[in-house]
Structures are given as C-alpha cells and as structure tokens.
C-alpha cells in the first residue's frame, strides 16, 4: 500500500502536525519507502496466531485503588508555557 498526497495531509491533520505542500510531498516519498519496507509482513502466515499483548509472562501487578499522591498543583503547572492560578491557559475554545 502507498499513500497519496491527500492521505499524507489527512494523516498530518490527525497527528496535529502542520504540513505545507512542499513538506507533504517530501514526506510522501519517505513514508512510502517505510510502508514499502513493512509490506513484507504480508508473506507471514498469521492464521490462528494471537497478537502480542504482553512481552513477559507475568500477570500485571495490581494495587489497592487508593489515593497515594497529590497536592502538587504547583509542580504540575511549573513547566507550562502559560498558566494562571494553577490553570493551564490555552487559546479561547468556546465563543
């Protein structure tokens, strides 16, 4: 399978990466190179094979559902580009 330029732009939009025309066509070539490379997986007989969900044979550990941490609002917003009173600030979303 290969991607056309419209698909590149659609995927870029899904990935939230701004891509202009020149960039899109450069990406198209390289993405098709990668997609061509992974094509060889179609040779493999996967009938009846379970997809991998965990690479180690251990049951995932569980813990009691309780609060173990918190009161860190200051730490959480400390690295944000724009904040106000422990809120992350973003451009206006609702008119």
């Amino acid at each position: 399978m290969s991607v056309d330029i419209d698909t590149v732009k659609r995927v870029a939009n899904l990935a939230r990466i701004k891509v202009g025309d020149a960039k899109a066509s450069e990406m198209q070539g390289k993405l098709n190179g990668i997609l061509g490379f992974v094509e060889q997986l179609n040779e493999v007989d996967i009938k009846g094979v379970e997809p991998m969900t965990s690479v180690v044979d251990f049951a995932m550990k569980k813990r009691v559902d309780e609060i173990t941490d918190g009161d860190k609002a200051e730490d959480i917003v400390a690295n944000a580009p724009v904040t106000d009173d422990h809120f992350f600030m973003v451009p206006k979303v609702i008119e």
């Binding site: 698909t7 990935a15 990668i34 094509e39 996967i46 959480i76």
Partner: protein, 495 residues
C-alpha cells in the same frame, strides 16, 4: 598520580573505599575533562557541575562515616530522557524546551540512593528515534574512534540513540552512563564505541520518569567501559517499582558475582538467519572468533533457527511508531515545553508540533498515526503484533530445546560517517543498523553487546549475547569470557 578518569567504576570504587582517592577529586577530574574535551564530541548537552560537587562532597562524608553506597562517589552521565529533578530533561527535542522536571525517574533515584554523582545530561537522538545520534536537536555526537586513530579522517557517528552515552564513556568524560534501548539504542552505540551495553529483560528496570518512546519496547540499561562495570550499574538501576505496573517484582541479583564463573557445558545457539546477505567479511570473521572463544571456554555450540528473524525489523517499524504516535500526543504546547501560537487552539497544536518535532520524529508519528487509523489497524498494527508473537515463539522454541544463550554480531557494520548521504536519503537504510538487535526488544529478552575486535582500519566491532528472560547473570558471565579473550579497546586520543 594516575589519571583519575582512566579508572573503571570497580577500580574507582576500590580506591574510594580504601581512601586512596576522594570522591570530590574524582568528580573534579571528570568535570575538568568535560570542560576541556566535550566540545570535540558534543556528548553532554547539560553539565550539572554544582550539583555534582555537592553530591561528591556528600559521598566523601558517607565514606568517612563508613557508610558508602554501592556506587558511592562514582560520577555518571545521564541520558537526556531520564527525568532529573530541576535539571535539563528534553530527550534532546526542541518541543521540550526548558523542561525541568519536578520529580526524579526511578532509575536515577536508585543511582543517587546508592551514592552515585550526576555530572550532567547526555546527547541522544530526538526522543530516542535514530541510530546515529544525528536527529538530536542539539546536533550530532562525534565518535571518539576514527579510522586509523587519525584526526584527519572522517568524523564518525557514535551510533544511536544513546550516542552521547556511548561517546562520553568511550572518551572518559564519565565513569559510566545510563542509556535506553527500544530497538538497539544501547547495544548498537556500545558496539560502535568499543564499550559494553546491556539491555535487560523488559520489566527489569522501571520506566517511570523515562520519556516514553514505545512503551512495550523501551527498557533502561547502562553503557560502561567493561562487563564488570555494567553489572555494577545494572544492579543499582534495576528494582521493582510500584509506579510502573510493567516493572517486575523480582529481587535484583548480584550480577557482579556471576562474572568469572565457568561456562563449561553451557549451550550457545548460533542462529543461521543472522547470516544476512552482504554481511561484511569482518563481521563474519568476528562472529566465528566469538564462537571459537566460547567453545574453547567449554561451551557447547549449537546451530539453531529463528525463522521469523527477517520480519522483526518491519514489524518493529509498525509497532514502535504506533506506540510513539500515541505517547507523543502529550506534546501539545499546553503542559510543558515549546508553544507556537496559532489562529485557534488546533492551529496552536499544529504549529507547535511542526516546529517542535524534528523530521524523523514527525515521520514516525505520521507512520504511527497512519497504521492505527480507521481501516488500516488490522492490516498493519494487528498483523505486526501477531508477527511479534511468532518472533517471541522462535526464541522460546530454542530455549525449550535447551539453548542457554544466543551469540550474534551486534551490528552489521562498524561506525559510519556523520552525514552519510545514503542513510539520510533513505530512512530504511538507517533502520538496518538495528537488524541484529531489534528482535531482542520485540521478544522482551535481555541482550548485551561486548567489544570483540577491530576492523582493518581500527574501528571497534561488538558481539551480542541474547539471554533467557531475566537471564542477565548468565549474560554477564559469558560476556566476561568474551571480554577476557578479546581484551579491552580504547580509542587513540586524537583530541
């Protein structure tokens, strides 16, 4: 007085313990080496000198009190993807500009709890996506090795993504370094720089506080000057961790104690599928040399087959980008790092991510987004995860047949030049660097790269040992045998 930076971790530990040297002297020696030589390599992207001196002074106090930790006073470099409280942590990406975490990763916290000293943060491929350290926002790293040890010959890559870690260890800018491995990012740079690198079993080290690339593949590990140092560092890095549900609750063995034990009767598998087309004769010869060394040490050499080997790399280039596209969704210009304004919020996201991510990262996020998108999930992602099951079964079959360990070359070539045009033009060519290492991540197994020889023009080459799940002790034991036979490899100092 001997050059303090030439001491291995084990040697420095012993000299600190018997008070021949002081931790503060050792740290000062490394800070001076970084100051003088880092510009030749671009290995460190941030140096935490003040913190290092403070930590070293505390080490001296603990040593004086007779309470040293296992890594007391040992100066380490930390790959830029480990969260270090209050210190530069950007996974060498522009999008994490200015990020200084308010918390410490579990792995680095373990190192500091054992008394280690942090010298600073090490260069890497952006978000660990690359095999040459050339995708870093901070520019490429130069390998301390040159063809013929000649300053006038081409500057080489140190491999990647842990290129800064490998170069810094090889050039003696730190005693040891943390690294991380998603498809070969510890073992390939170790092989390119004549250093030792181990990627432990998935779940052996906590991933908490490591910048995520592909969560089902990422694993922490050390790069060091020799096998013993790798054993010492991994012992401190590994631990169970309540904060990472994929981190396994198993006690961490004393890896160092495994070194020096006999490998008589151990069954070493030689997989025929690793004899790839066009493999340089030097790599073939190195592999044969490794086989001979292990046979001479009493191991039994067994030819084995891992039939799905060739599909590991293509399956990886679906699974890893898919997980990356999801993990990297968090970089949106809101919570940390770079923000590039736009007409509205979606435009702000798109501008931020276009400017903040480099080309390689953008490509992988795009591939991941595509293979997970409606209508393509089954054809790509689900198929790749099934192939992954088959790759793991290949290894299990061998281990069930009594194979203890598998010996392969670590890389299909020695280090190549910075700015290699063929690799820059074709991403798939760059991917092929990881052809021998990526299978191990796909199966979650431990793998160690050990320097084993030099090419005709004097560049290091490594061998890889692949172990059973949580079979790190046997890996150190056998890697020690290879190291003893091969000797140590240091770059000729051209800088």
């Amino acid at each position: 007085m001997t050059d303090l930076t030439s001491l291995t971790i084990a040697e420095a530990r012993d000299q600190l313990a018997n008070k021949t040297i002081k931790a503060s002297e050792l740290t000062d020696a490394y800070l001076a080496a970084i100051e003088q030589d880092n510009s030749n390599f671009n290995a460190f992207v941030a140096v935490s000198a003040e913190k290092a001196r403070e930590m070293a002074a505390n080490s001296d106090t603990r040593i004086a009190k007779g309470e040293p930790g296992a890594l007391e006073g040992i100066p380490l470099g930390i790959k830029d993807l480990y969260a270090t409280e209050g210190v530069h942590t950007q996974a060498c990406s522009h999008i994490l500009d200015g990020f200084k975490p308010r918390y410490e990763s579990t792995v680095t916290a373990n190192l500091w709890a054992d008394g280690a000293v942090m010298l600073g943060k090490l260069n890497m491929d952006e978000f660990a996506m690359g095999s040459s350290n050339e995708t870093s926002y901070y520019g490429p790293v130069t390998n301390p090795w040159r063809a013929g040890g000649d300053k006038s010959s081409a500057a080489l890559v140190p491999g990647g993504s842990s290129g800064g870690s490998a170069a810094a260890v090889s050039a003696h800018l730190c005693a040891g370094a943390t690294a991380s491995d998603t498809g070969g990012s510890i073992r390939q740079p170790a092989a390119f720089t004549g250093t030792v690198g181990i990627k432990p079993t998935y779940g052996r080290c906590s991933r908490w506080g490591m910048v995520a690339f592909a969560s089902s593949l990422d694993q922490a590990g050390p790069i060091t000057r020799d096998v013993r140092d790798a054993a010492i560092m991994l012992k401190s890095m590994a631990s169970p961790d309540e904060k990472d549900t994929t981190c396994i609750d198993l006690p961490v063995p004393d890896y160092e104690a495994a070194i020096g034990g006999s490998i008589k009767g151990m069954k070493i598998g030689i997989p025929k599928e690793y004899r790839i087309d066009g493999m340089p004769e030097e790599i073939e010869a190195l592999w044969q040399q490794g086989i001979d060394w292990l046979r001479d040490a009493g191991a039994e050499i067994v030819d084995i087959s891992l039939p799905h080997t060739k599909y590991a790399l293509p399956a990886y280039y679906i699974v890893a980008p898919a997980e990356a596209s999801s993990n990297l969704a968090r970089y949106d210009g809101v919570k940390y790092g770079l923000r590039v304004d736009g007409e509205d919020i979606a435009d702000m996201y798109m501008n931020t991510r276009a400017e903040g991510f480099g080309d390689e990262v953008q490509r992988r996020v795009m591939v991941g987004t595509y293979v997970l998108s409606a209508g393509y999930y089954d054809a790509y992602y689900l198929r790749a995860q099934k192939v992954r099951t088959l790759i793991k079964q290949d290894f299990e079959t061998s281990f069930n047949d009594g194979i203890d360990m598998i010996l392969t070359p670590a890389t299909p070539s020695a280090a190549f030049a910075i700015g290699d045009e063929e690799m820059a033009a074709d991403p798939v060519k760059m991917f092929l660097n990881d052809v021998f290492t990526v299978t191990v991540n796909m199966a979650g197994l431990p793998g160690i790269a050990v320097p084993a020889g030099l090419t005709g023009n004097g560049l290091p080459l490594g061998l890889q040992l692949i172990g059973r799940p949580f079979g790190e002790e046997a890996l150190f034991q056998t890697a020690g045998v290879i190291e003893q036979a091969a000797g140590h490899f240091n770059p000729k100092k051209w800088w």
